[in-house]
Symmetry: C2
Subunit: 190 residues, 2 copies
Amino acid sequence: MQLLEERIRKDGKVLPGDVLKVNSFLNHQLDAELLDAVGAEIAGLFKDCGVTKVLTAEASGIAIACFVALHLHCPALFAKKSKTSNIGSGVWSAKAHSYTHGNDYTMIVSKEYLSGEDTVLIVDDFLANGSALRALRDLCTEAGAKVAGAGIAIEKTYQGGGDELRAEGLRIESMARIASMDAEDGIRFC
Amino acid sequence: MQLLEERIRKDGKVLPGDVLKVNSFLNHQLDAELLDAVGAEIAGLFKDCGVTKVLTAEASGIAIACFVALHLHCPALFAKKSKTSNIGSGVWSAKAHSYTHGNDYTMIVSKEYLSGEDTVLIVDDFLANGSALRALRDLCTEAGAKVAGAGIAIEKTYQGGGDELRAEGLRIESMARIASMDAEDGIRFC
């Protein structure tokens, strides 16, 4: 998606430790008009898939998920992150690992809002090693829900998580796919 | 706002401990079309105030803030919550207390995104005792930003936080104002 790639080139900052800082428009400060356009694009790609629910993870996935849901005319649902694995019986849960923070956490959604009746579109801001996306998919599997696919804002393809999950049969549509990035040479898109 | 009051009457659940559970449409599962309407209503009330930034707190304020920002054609910014008060010099911070979780926390925003040039509209899902709203206002004061006011989805007026902050000069517009609520008698709006 050209609009997003241009914005990443303009305002994204490549930092040491393979960090792409996009918090001026994607995950601290939010450019609502850009995210609405990204949401509309993702929604358009999955408009014929019978999606009943958009699932994301707090906090940085919420904004995009809302706009996707608006364009698909269905609710969004955000998984809450818990540091304990000691959770109640009223929730679906799945474990994930944060490479950024170096810890494990548990994703949780209430059983009230996800069931075998649902067809889910998973949405997130980043896809790198795929841990968060895998956990969101596992949550859906546990709930017996069908997964239509995943809509991602930025995929770091060189980290391989996306291709692993595609090989497992998950349809993934990423709006900007980064082939490589480097503080000196900048960002190269696929 | 009639649409929101009707939805609270229909799907809100009053639980022991003065809890109004609205997580089927406001803060776990999100009704994007309803939140877009709430966002448009809040934006309309502040459209002539020169708002340059919509400020909220993660995670449950993000959805409404995005829609307000979309309708005001300005960015949204969400304060991150930290349990430590040991924070860096690159951020504005303010302390708040969570009556739900019984702990103190610190709200943080990057100095890159909030300055004396800004006119801020604060947005949140709930206003009860006012601790979160006060912290968000204090963040703006610390940054030297002007505060145009606050747009709130649901205010529990009987908890008094809103009136205290109004008495301090803050303009607050709440889309649904609850005068009292009770598991048996239901919810009474102002």
